[in-house]
Structure formats: C-alpha cells, structure tokens
C-alpha cells in the first residue's frame, strides 16, 4: 500500500472540495478500494471518506426511492420498501459477498467496484490495459473463463463484478452526481462504459465527481422481479452469469419486462434486444428462448468462456419462466 492522506467529508460539497486535489479517491466501505490499494493497483495520494454523507432511504411522494450513496448494502437489502417493491434489488445484494462485507459496503462504492480479472490484479507479473493503458491484455489469450462475452474489445475483456448494479440496471435506476461544476443525473445503464480502446475509463464520472444518491423510479412491474446468480460455489463467489428480471404478464402476453445480465460484460448488460422482442408477445418458453438467443446473437466467446453464452440464455429463460409462473399463480 502506498502512503496516502485521509480526510473525512462532512457533506457532498465538502467532499468535492477535498477531492479537488489530484489523485484523490472517495472512500466508502473500502471493501474493494482498500484491497486494490493493498495490491498497489490503486495508488491514491489522498482518500476522502464519504461514509458520513447521507445514508437515508427516502420514500418520495411520486413513489420513487432516493437512496443515499453512503447507505450500506445490508441496510438497503433489508429495507421494507425495497423488499416489497423492488425484490430483485434485495436478492441481488444478498447474493453478493458476505454479510460482513455487505455491512461495510456502500451503494456508491458497489457501483464503482472494479473488475476481478486476475491479470488486472497481478501488477508485477501480468499485462493489463486497464491498469496500465497501452500495456496489452494477457486475459484475451489467457485464462478467461470468467471474462466477457458481450461488448468486449481487443483492449479488454474484463467483466463488471457487481450484483447490485445488475438489479439497478433492471430498475431504470438513476445515478445522482455532484462535481465541481454542479449536479447532474445519469441513468445507471449509461453510467458505466464499455471498454473500447480506453478500458481504464470505466464510468462517465468526471474527475472529482461524486455519486451522492441512486434514485429508483416508481416501477410497478418491479414488484414482480427476481435475481438469479450462477456461480462456482454456493456463496462468496462472483457471478459467472446472473440475471435480473422483472416481468408483467397480462392474458398470456408480456405487457412489460426488464432484463439484465451480469457477469458477461464490462457493465451490467441491459438486454434491450430481448426486452424489445418480448414486449407485446406471448409469455411462453419458446418466446423467452427466442428473445434470449437474440440478445446473445452478437456474443463473442473467448478460449474458456463459450459456455457462458448457453448459460446466459438458459438462465434468462428459466428466470422469465419462473416469474411468469409465479405471476400466473398470483403469488407475487
């Protein structure tokens, strides 16, 4: 770990001011950033602790939820409104990490988690364009069983590791930002970038910009939502593939749907194509399969991860089928 200075912000404006020096990083629960500092992947000159910023979950009159960026993952997963109106989010959070880590991790920090690519972590012995732009990528022709099948580039095939972010992408979440030039909002689906030729740039954040809150709009079908995570052991493993989905079926027809894949791309992968294919069509297994295949049509397998294409399709079909059956039974 490189030496660094530490300051604790009292509010968002204070945080942005403290972070205006170069090479500052915002510190939430530290469950990822501190690990990366220990590995010398991250070498911030200063840390601005933002855990003292608002950690409230505000239920607003229009039915939306405004979640402070410092809200701990556990608190968010346990919140009554989240469990009843956005169950996909509770399930996604509880599928991630361990209870101890969730007690520390914040909402803002979770969204900003960095990839678990082994070559990214191996600062001494491996090449990584994300860690050292222009250095090359050892993952593309190396061990890449856990890597991306969608939206990757010749520069980077890493995946985004968050579970929570996959659910947020399904819920049309909006990220609230504050920087030196004021405040703005971005849909979560537009917050993360694909790697392109600049994999070191993972989000649309401006230098020094801070996530202050995440907004969940009122979304009726979100009450009919779930999250399924497929991984190499029963707990404490990153997703090989995950699916966040919400489904509204009326008279056997898909009225509305949200579908997002995790573990397959550099960002939570909103399955726009599959959603479009499903909306207004029959809620049948065949239709689910056709939509899933359409979403994966452009998938590019690497040496070790071709199985993810079929796994993603199967998991999407199973999750949609499960939601449709539960809706039909009226138990959601």
């Amino acid at each position: 770990m490189n030496p660094f200075t530490y300051a604790r912000a009292t509010d968002a404006a204070d945080a942005v001011r403290l972070a205006s020096t170069t090479q500052a990083k915002y510190l939430g629960g530290g469950t990822n950033l501190v690990d990366l500092m220990r590995e010398t992947i991250e070498r911030p000159a200063s840390l601005v602790d933002v855990t003292g910023l608002p950690s409230t979950i505000e239920e607003r009159a229009d039915g939306s939820l405004l979640i402070g960026a410092a809200v701990r993952n556990t608190a968010l997963a346990e919140h009554r409104a989240v469990r009843t109106r956005y169950p996909v989010l509770s399930r996604a959070i509880l599928a991630g990490a361990s209870a101890q880590i969730r007690n520390m991790a914040t909402v803002g920090g979770n969204i900003l988690q960095r990839t678990r690519c082994a070559y990214f972590y191996d600062a001494e012995g491996s090449r990584c364009n994300k860690r050292e732009p222009g250095q090359g990528c050892d993952a593309i022709d190396g061990h890449n069983r856990t890597h991306a099948i969608l939206g990757a580039s010749p520069a980077c095939v890493a995946t985004h590791p968050s579970d929570m972010g996959v659910a947020l992408a399904a819920l049309d979440a909006v990220v609230h930002l504050q920087g030196a030039r004021g405040t703005r909002t971005l849909p979560l689906t537009e917050f993360h970038r694909l790697p392109g030729d600049q994999p070191e740039l993972e989000t649309e954040l401006e230098p020094g910009e801070l996530i202050t809150a995440v907004e969940l709009p009122a979304l009726q079908l979100a009450a009919h939502s779930t999250y399924r995570k497929v991984r190499d052991r029963a707990s404490y493993a990153f997703a090989l593939v995950s699916v966040a989905a919400a489904l509204e079926v009326e008279g056997g027809t898909v009225k509305d749907v949200r579908l997002v894949l995790g573990g397959v791309a550099h960002k939570p992968w909103r399955a726009w194509k599959a959603e479009a294919a499903l909306r207004g069509g029959p809620a049948t297994e065949q239709a689910f399969r056709t939509a899933a295949e359409a979403e994966l049509a452009d998938a590019v397998p690497l040496r070790d991860n071709a199985f993810k294409i079929e796994l993603a399709q199967r998991t999407m079909v199973a999750v949609l089928g499960d939601l449709a059956a539960r809706t039909a039974r009226g138990d959601m």
């Binding site: 191996d122 001494e124 190396g142 991984r231 052991r233 029963a234």
Partner: protein, 741 residues
C-alpha cells in the same frame, strides 16, 4: 485398567479454550524486542536469470532496515530434502535441494528474489513493491504436454518405487468379458490453511530460535543447522499452535530467508506470508493424468487392474504424487500393471497435501470401479465387496485388520443405499437432477522411525509426557493425554502433554497420518521404562515385589499385577518409600516392524447424495456419510472432526479446488481466497460419520491414522453421484458447472 475407559471418550480439545479466548500464541504472535518485519518480492518469469535488480528505491523507503537479495545474502548450504530420490534423509525437512537466494538463477515464476525488512509490516509491504527486476528468460516447461515430451522418469518415495507388475495385465484386459479403459485428470492444488505460513526468528550469537507454523519441527531444526553450517543443538524450533498444517507446514524458503535476513540485520525478524506469498512459494499437490483400465469376468471378478500415468514435479525435488497406492492394496485381480511416472515442470517445489497420491489415486480408481459397475450392470457396492482381497493383492502380505465389508454394510444400511435408483438421470426434483454415489476411501498405514518420549512421574501422582510432536488443531494432545492417563491408571487431569518444541525427545513427522501411531509407540516404550524403574525402586517391601514390567499395568493411581489386581501399590507410596520426588525416563519407540510384516491400511465406505441443476449445471451436495474402518478411535469427538474435515476437502477437490497456472509463463493466477475456491459453509451439508472402532492388533494402541482417509473417498463419491444424477461422467477435476451443462 479402570472400569470406564478414557480411551474413545469425546473429550473436548485442551487447546480449545485458549484459542477461542485468543490466548494461544501462533508463530506470528511472539513478541520480541527490536522486531523487524519482512516482505517478499517474487520473480515474474519461470526460468532464467535475474539480469538487473534495482533495490535503491526500496532501501530509501520509510522504515526500511535492509533489502536482501542474492547479492548480499549470507552464504547458505542447499536445502536438505525430505522425500527426494535416493537414500531418504530422515531428519531433513525441505521440499527441494535448492540453495536459497545464493545466485541469480530463477527456477519458478513466483520464486522469492528479495526480502525487505522494515520497522513495520506495512512499511515492508510497501517497499517490496518498489523493487525493480529485469530478467534474461530461458524456455520454461509450463505444461504437462511439454513435460511429457521431454521424457518421464521413475518415481519413488522412501525408496519404494511406484511400479508394480503382476502377470500380464494388458493381455488379461484384452481377454476380459467386460472392461473399461479411461483417463482421469486432477489439477494442482495449493496449501491454503487458515493460518498463512509464518515464522518469527531471532539469533543469539550462533544460536537460532525459530517460532514457526510447523509440523516437522525437529526436521526443520536439523535442516536449518545444515543450511547455516551450525550445530543442530544450536537451533531451537517451537511450534505450540498451528492453524492448519495438512502437509504444507514444513520447511520452505521463507524460514531460511527470515533467518538469513535476521543474521544480516542483527535483529529479530517476523515473516508472516501474505496469501499471495503462500500461493507463490508454498507448493502443494501437483497435477496427475491417470489411465485406469479394469477387465472383469461376467460375474464381476477383476481379471486385470491397470493404473498408470504421470504426475508433475520439479527436477529439484522429484517428489511424486504417487497415485497408485490405492490400487496396490484394495482389490483382488488376476493381473496388475501399476506405475506412476514423473514429468518435470518449472514450478515451486511440490509437497504433500493431505493424502498425497492417495487422494487423486483413489478418485481415479473408485470412479473406474463405478464405471465398471455400470458396464457390468452390477451394484457398485456388491462389485467392491466381491473383489475384496484375502491378503495384500500385490505383495502377498497378510492384512493386520481388515473390515471393509462390515464398513460397507453398515454404511449402506445407515445411508439408505437401497433407495438409490441405479438408472442415471432418473430422479428429478423440479430443476434438479438427484443422484447418489459411493466410493471406498483408502489410506495405507505409516509409522516413521524416530519416535521417542520423556515421561515424568511425580510423588503427587502427576505424569508429564514430552515429545517433539505437533498440535495443528487435530486434537493430538487431548487424545494422547487420554491414552497416557488410561495406561498409567491416572485421571485425565493428572496428565499433561508437552509438545511443539524441537529440543524435546523424538523425531516425529506431523504428517502421513502417522503422528498418533508414532506417539503411541513412544508412550508405550516410555511407560515400560517407567514401570521397570518403579518396580526396581519399589523393592521387597512392596506388594509388587518380584513382578516384572510385563506382569503389571497402571491402575488406580499406581501399579497392579495383571494376574492378581489386589497386588497394587500407588505411585505415591513407591516414590515416598524410595525417597524420590519424581522419576524421569526417556525411551525410543521400537522400529516400525509392523509395517514390514503386515499390510496395514485404513479404509472407509463413503456415500453421497447430491443435486445437479439441469439448467445451470450447478451441484449442491445434500448429505454425506462416511463409514470408517480406522482401528481404535482414541477420542470420538476429535476423530469425527478429522473425518468431517477430510470430507469437506474431498468435496472441494471434486467441485472447485484448482490452482490456476497461466501456461504461457507458469504464473499462478488465483493467489487469493476470493478466487481460489474452497467450500464455504453453504457448500457443506450434514456429514454423518460412523466407525467400526476395531483395534488393529498389530499397531501401537491399535490405532491407524485418520487425518487423511476421508478426503480420498469423498471426491469419487461426489463424482459417482453426479454420474448417477446426470448420466455424465466428468473425468477431469474439478467438476465445475460448465462441464455439466
């Protein structure tokens, strides 16, 4: 003896309260004034030489005491090697024969190239990241295919060559009515005990004190003395508590480097390996590629058993993952062809990892037997029982104690094997395919020469036994205290067991599941010496007058005649009459003649029920039962914990454990526990264990080793249950979900 035997009682571990209260001092917790803290830098190529090594920035970093490299390390001799080729050096503790940090040569990717000492661990860690090296790389052997192409070599352990031929097995296989002929592959696995390897060292002149996480303390003292060219008695190794050993807590480069750096700095050094350092510098189980072919008559009797293949090691160590052991002794067959050959890669020295050889070997053998049962249309348990041998099938020695059939019958009954549907893929529960599988566990008995004990008996009737043995959480000290109390006729509380110090008597390897047998033999020998001396000083006034040590036993706080128990005198009375406060004796265990005369083995029948998700290929194990035949059980609680722990390791080996190497440069990729998967609680179901508890008449105290046995059968039981659930036979471990989709 007293009416209610202490032996077998489920007494809680003596070290338990200390550990839960945080009072147990582990190797990295010895406070010493003036301590400095060490961190390592590692090579990034697998073979070649260090061209440049820039340590200037590291030396200038805050708090740095010194940086040691091959350019300034003190002269040191090569590592004395424990289990290499040629004549065994029974006192050696190293995994290869390399001289540590003596030249610019690189032998594996991840080899230590520099040691940083600093005032704090954080400063040392930081400075170690400032070291810059460049290399002249040479072609390295980093894949099994390359290694095999370079030629393979004969393998052996303790002089026993891994090659057995009885009859013409290939001809018998070709002529057999039913046969299977398949190849299994098992991966590298690294030692990742909960306590990373750690050592605290301090020099006092030419005396070296090492507080170490260690399961071969005396071997380590001997080896360090050789390396530093000092007297063996000048090295004092302690290891009072070890947070998991599993064969990995032996002598590695880090203890040598810590001692060298301490010498160079003139200060005590603590080297607490990071998880990355463990995964780069501590070897483990190497990969195997095993052909198993079994030919049988239509009735199921084996005509031929062929078990051959290759395992990887280093040229420097040549330690074999000798996988043919289970096939040498477990089933009768008309002909055998068994051989394990070595292929050489440029990797960290491999070592023993729980049930070395036996675990991958049993996986292959027991899956092959299952495959043959399918080919024959027979129940796999009946097939195994049918082929039980009368004597050791490859060397003809009689079995000392062999209750495999009883274990199978008892296990099948308790598990409910009769409810199993033999048709693969036939049982479904929603998305889940349900299956049951079974496999035998196998482990040969070992007792390494060198055991010895000092026994002290006081006039107050307290006994202390001192042995240079180890307690790595298995419950050894507790179980052996029960043995000593029982044998001496004392209460459990009157006995203490002192261990974990290389200056104590005996050369005891805390591995090979042999420590309990070694200690038992030493305790019996010491008690005999003690009894002899007691009878001597008891004199003619004693009711025991005229009796010899073989005619008495410990009973009710004293000695009693075996034939006439009323001839009894308390230890206190004997010592008081002789005017003695205490008696101290020391005795060596006899050589392990039982290993020469008898075929001795632990075995068990392992059962597993699990589910495989038809959509995703995920496996969830629902229950496991082990029915064990492992001689006399000294402590039911610690034994069942050992059995359960082995099962969990077996599940991990079956489903997830693998050290991933980048085959382009031989570098380990998954160096953290986040990426190097072992079972978490949610992966571990209820594990039921039962045992025959039949003492082996040929072994000290009737015991067998039981620390490693269950890992061997748990892995194939899982693999066979997966086949029963899905009809898919996966022959390369671990069985991850992508192989089942």
């Amino acid at each position: 003896m007293t009416d209610i035997s202490l032996i077998g009682q489920p007494i809680s571990r003596l070290d338990g309260p200390l550990k839960v209260e945080g009072q147990a001092s582990f190797a990295a917790e010895f406070p010493i004034d003036g301590m400095s803290y060490a961190a390592l830098a590692f090579s990034t190529i697998a073979k070649g030489r260090i061209a440049t090594l820039d340590v200037g920035e590291a030396e200038a970093a805050p708090g740095v005491v010194l940086v040691m490299t091959h350019q300034n390390a003190p002269p040191m001799g090569p590592m004395p090697m424990m289990l290499g080729p040629g004549e065994p050096d029974w006192r050696a503790g190293g995994g290869d024969n390399l001289a540590v940090m003596q030249d610019d040569q690189v032998h594996w990717n991840g080899q230590p190239i520099a040691v940083v000492l600093a005032e704090t661990q954080e400063q040392a860690n930081y400075a170690s990241t400032l070291i810059r090296a460049s290399y002249e790389a040479q072609p390295a052997v980093t894949t099994l295919d390359e290694a095999k192409a370079n030629g393979t070599a004969e393998s052996s352990v303790f002089g026993h060559v891994h090659k057995v031929a009885v009859g013409d097995a290939e001809a018998a296989l070709a002529a057999a009515a039913v046969s299977i002929d398949v190849t299994y592959r098992t991966p590298f696995q690294t030692h990742n005990a909960i306590e990373p390897h750690a050592t605290t060292v301090v020099w006092d002149g030419d005396e070296l004190v090492v507080h170490d996480a260690n399961q071969v303390i005396t071997h380590t003292a001997y080896s360090l003395a050789k390396i530093f060219g000092i007297e063996e008695r000048s090295v004092h190794v302690t290891s009072p508590f070890v947070g998991g050993a599993f064969g990995g807590k032996a002598l590695w480069q880090h203890q040598v480097l810590a001692a060298a750096a301490a010498k160079l700095a003139g200060r005590p050094v603590r080297m607490n390996l990071s998880r990355e350092a463990v995964n780069r510098t501590i070897g483990g189980r190497t990969l195997t590629e095993q052909r198993v072919a079994i030919g049988a008559g239509a009735d199921g009797r084996f005509d031929a058993l062929i078990h051959t293949g290759t395992t990887v090691t280093t040229q420097r160590g040549q330690l074999a993952e000798g996988f043919i052991g289970p096939s040498e002794r477990s089933y009768a067959a008309g002909a055998f062809d068994l051989e394990c050959r070595l292929a050489f890669q440029d990797i960290a020295p491999n070592s023993q990892l729980r049930a070395p050889g036996n675990a991958p070997g049993t996986y292959a053998l027991e899956c092959a037997v299952d495959e043959l049962a399918v080919a024959l249309g027979m129940d796999p348990i009946e097939l195994r029982i049918l082929n039980q041998p009368e004597r050791n099938p490859t060397d003809g020695r009689p079995f000392s104690s062999h209750h495999a059939v009883e274990a199978w019958r008892a296990g099948a009954e308790r598990f409910g094997w009769a409810k199993r549907n033999a048709t693969p893929g036939a049982v479904r529960d929603g998305e889940w395919l349900v299956g049951m599988g079974c496999a035998a566990s196998h482990l040969g008995y070992v007792r390494v020469p060198g055991g010895a004990a000092r026994m002290t008996l006081t006039r107050e009737g307290r006994a202390r036994v001192e042995i240079a043995a180890h307690e790595f959480g298995a419950g050894t000290a507790t179980a052996l205290s029960q043995v000593v109390a029982e044998r001496l006729g004392l209460a459990f509380e009157q006995v203490s067991f002192v261990y974990g110090d290389s200056t104590l008597p005996g050369l005891v390897m805390g591995g090979g599941s042999q420590q309990t047998a070694s200690i038992s033999a030493s305790v019996i020998a010491a008690q005999h010496a003690l009894t002899t001396e007691l009878l001597q000083i008891a004199g003619d006034a004693s009711p025991l007058a005229g009796l010899t040590a073989d005619e008495v036993e410990g009973r009710d706080g004293g000695l009693a005649s075996l034939d006439a128990p009323e001839r009894h005198e308390s230890y206190a009375a004997i010592l008081a009459r002789a005017g003695r406060d205490e008696i101290v004796v020391e005795a060596a265990a006899p050589p392990p003649q039982e290993m020469m005369d008898w075929s001795i083995q632990s075995m068990g029948a392992m059962f597993c029920e699990l589910r495989v998700n038809a959509v995703t290929g995920e496996v969830r194990v629902d229950r496991v039962l082990g029915s064990m035949d492992c001689g006399r059980i000294l402590n039911a609680r610690t034994a069942s914990s050992q059995f359960r722990g082995g099962v969990i390791m077996g599940l991990g080996a079956a489903l997830m454990e693998e050290t991933q190497f980048d085959e382009r440069n031989g570098r380990v990729l998954n160096v953290s526990l986040a990426e190097q998967h072992v079972p978490v609680h949610m992966d571990v179901p209820e594990i039921d264990v039962i045992w025959t508890d039949i003492p082996d008449p040929q072994t000290p105290m009737g015991v067998h080793g039981l620390g490693e046995i269950t890992i061997t059968g748990a892995t194939p039981a899982v693999a066979n249950a997966i086949f029963n659930a899905t009809g898919k036979r996966v022959r390369d471990l671990p069985i991850t979900l992508d192989k089942l989709m």
